[in-house]
């Protein structure tokens, strides 16, 4: 008797593809996905729905930057919305009070994001312990109080309006242009983040995650590299935030930091976390895919109220219930597979033994019986 050879063959191919694509995504695949994404506006897609992908593109940058800090360096930030909101507010303030054009203010906001990351990091990262997580989570909450208190400077709840990046274009053209801009930003910044993560510096980041004492023993100034990782992360986070303010939300408002009354109160801090759990922590491109999954699930598939008819009982599931189920699922995933779902699946595949012939198993059994 034999196992079916074709099935074995396909299984082997599948394992190879899954492991190789996951380990080192081939450039052809990435290229194909980029081409697919870039012909989307001309594929008869509803242009209003394209706006969801615009925000997905920009949030994906945030998620990738979060992953560089947390997944690669092991320094936990629970409030990445801080950099997101900071980017938007910096360009808004410069535009409002100095009247500078956005192509000067956005680079400034990027620099400010990195600077703020450094100023938080210097007191927090000197200490061993979860200080960075605590401080980054509390910072957006604290900033919100300032935004409400100095209402005439920061604009209170409504925030400061931001000009559009393509003011000359009509509505639909502008959406397409914004889409290409956001896609280009995503591609560029994810390539840069990925290159940093796979460079020598990135390997030092991973060494800090794996064994900090060992890294120190190799004469690596771990504090310096942690700060570097935090600064890069803050830089890309505020880049995403600045463009999000210009393109999607149209203003820099306190909701970019924390929105207590929203469905999801710390949206821009929690989305990177959820996306990383869905896509795999520490892979850089995993969270990007995770953000896409999340946005498509959240904005396309889930409606305001879903009604089921189960054996005559009508069950309505509203947004809160949906989010409750979704987040419970996410927590379950974290508990079951702490490093992300995709990584767990791949590790399972890698650990799979070659399927043995039935004859061998029978032979072993008879041998053991004889003994």
């Amino acid at each position: 008797m034999q196992t079916v050879p074709i099935a074995r063959y396909f299984r082997k191919i599948y394992t190879n593809i899954a492991t190789h694509i996951y380990d080192r995504p081939p450039r052809t695949l990435a290229f194909l996905i980029i081409i697919m994404l870039s012909i989307l506006p001309y594929s008869g897609m509803d242009l209003i729905k394209l706006e969801i992908l615009i925000s997905a593109n920009l949030i994906a940058i945030l998620a990738a930057s979060w992953d560089l800090l947390v997944g690669r360096t092991g320094q936990i930030s629970l409030g990445h919305a801080l950099f997101f909101g900071l980017g938007a507010y910096t360009t808004a303030l410069f535009i409002k009070y100095l009247g500078w054009p956005f192509w000067i203010t956005i680079p400034i906001s990027v620099i400010v994001g990195a600077g703020v990351a450094l100023t938080i990091g210097i007191p927090c990262l000197r200490l061993k312990g979860p200080y960075l997580a605590l401080v980054t989570m509390a910072f957006p909450l604290a900033l919100q109080g300032f935004l409400y208190y100095y209402r005439d400077i920061f604009g209170g709840e409504t925030g400061i309006g931001l000009p559009k990046i393509f003011p000359g274009l009509r509505f639909f053209d502008r959406i397409v242009a914004n889409y290409y801009l956001s896609l280009a930003l995503l591609v560029l910044s994810s390539i840069i983040i990925y290159k940093i993560a796979t460079s020598k510096t990135g390997i030092i980041f991973i060494s800090i995650l794996d064994d900090e004492i060992g890294a120190k023993a190799c004469a690596i100034n771990t504090t310096k590299y942690k700060l570097m990782s935090l600064a890069i992360s803050g830089l890309f986070g505020s880049l995403a935030g600045a463009f999000y303010g210009h393109i999607v939300s149209g203003s820099a408002n306190p909701r970019l930091f924390v929105d207590t009354t929203a469905l999801m109160p710390m949206e821009f801090s929690l989305i990177p976390i959820i996306a990383a759990v869905l896509g795999g922590v520490g892979t850089i491109y995993g969270p990007i895919v995770g953000v896409y999954i999340y946005q498509i699930l959240y904005r396309y598939i889930l409606r305001d109220v879903i009604t089921f008819n189960i054996f005559g009982y009508i069950v309505t599931v509203d947004r809160h219930m949906q989010l409750f189920i979704f987040i419970s699922f996410i927590v379950l995933l974290i508990v079951k597979w702490p490093r992300g779902v995709a990584r767990a699946i791949v590790e399972k595949l890698e650990d799979l033994e070659e399927p043995r012939e039935l004859e061998e198993i029978l032979k072993e059994k008879t041998e053991s019986k004889q003994m």
Binding site: V70, G74, I76, L78, P123, C124, L125, R126, L127, K128, G129, P130, Y131, A133, L134, V135, M137, A138, F139, L141, A142, L143, Q144, G145, F146, Y148, Y149, T222, T223, V258, T260, T261, M264, P265, M266, L270, I273, I274, V277, V281, H320, M321, L323, F324, I327, S328, I330, V331, I334, V335, P338, R339
Partner: protein
């Protein structure tokens, strides 16, 4: 005038500070004993306050207690809320965080996502209108005069309750067998395991106590300061706990008392001096955190901290 203002700042600030210390106490206890940063602590504050509100409303409605003893209902509701929250906390810990012990990143991520689960649970069970604001009646009505300052009786009572809780907890930790086992666990995990201490049971007990303390803090805070609870208040509760804990040093019970007092005094004085600074309430803890981290990173009684 200045003297009276100073007196009132000190008295009200002390009371608020004691309540803050109770809020943070559970957080610091869990970190000190098991090394877990349990961010769900913020949610237990809210859950406890909600349970207290619902239970006391229910007890008032069924009308079985004599009206001559108005303290009976709050005490019973507080006790039940403590027990229920402790049970929820320990069960939640056993189901999720216990299985990823030692993985710091996952614990932080899982616990912050679970905060959202509990918030949505409150939304689902109570409905949107009550989840945004639920009235919590004060512990007692009337006023007392302490050193030329009028203090609400409820506030004075809350301060007393938190002081008593502190004393009870420190006696529990230093005198009883279980408490000493906890202390041993915080000092040396392996040696205490060799002495026959069951880490699993003790960790569960610790989380239960911490969740109960969180609920107590939530009840005291909502019934004396805000007079209401909303389901999203876990974020400010967490911010307060962080600040107190960073001020006093992670994992130190004495430190959390002192940190709470300092934070309460700082907040009340800022809100008296600056006009209309109510919205700044969430920012003051943060300024304190940053100042402390720059000036004295270990906190006042820092324990599990190493400088790099």
């Amino acid at each position: 005038m200045v003297k009276r203002m100073l007196e009132s700042i000190i008295i009200i600030g002390t009371i608020v500070g004691l309540i803050y210390a109770i809020i943070a106490l559970g957080f610091t206890l869990v970190y000190g004993i098991s090394g877990i940063v349990n961010l769900t602590h913020g949610v237990f504050i809210v859950v406890g306050a909600y349970l207290y509100g619902v239970l006391s409303d229910y007890l008032l409605k069924i009308n079985i207690f004599p009206p001559e003893s108005p303290y009976l209902i709050p005490i019973i509701a507080m006790f039940l809320s403590f027990i229920f929250t402790a049970a929820i906390g320990s069960i939640f810990y056993r189901l999720t965080l216990h299985q990823i012990l030692g993985d710091e990143i996952s614990i932080l991520i899982a616990s912050i996502c679970s905060c959202l689960i509990f918030q949505k649970l409150i939304y689902i069970t109570l409905g949107t209108s009550q989840a945004f604001a639920y009235r919590i009646s004060p512990l007692a009505y009337g006023k007392i005069r302490i050193i030329n300052t009028d203090v609400l009786t409820g506030q004075a009572l809350a301060g007393t309750i938190s002081l008593i809780t502190f004393i009870a907890l420190s006696i529990f930790i230093s005198k009883t067998k279980v408490g000493r086992a906890m202390k041993a666990l915080s000092q040396d995990l392996e040696a205490s395991m060799l002495m026959g201490i069951s880490t699993e049971k003790l960790y569960m007990l610790t989380t239960a106590i911490s969740a109960g303390l969180g609920s107590l803090g939530g009840i005291l805070y909502t019934s004396t300061v805000t007079f209401g609870v909303a389901s999203y208040m876990w974020m400010s509760g967490l911010a307060v706990s962080f600040t107190v804990v960073v001020l006093g040093g992670l994992g130190s019970v004495k430190g959390s008392l002192l940190g709470g007092l300092i934070l309460g005094l700082a907040e009340i004085s800022a809100m008296t001096i600056l006009p209309g600074a109510g919205v700044l309430q969430s920012s003051i803890p943060f300024i304190v955190i940053i100042l402390v981290l720059i000036i004295r990173p270990k906190g006042l009684f820092g324990k599990r901290i190493e400088m790099e």
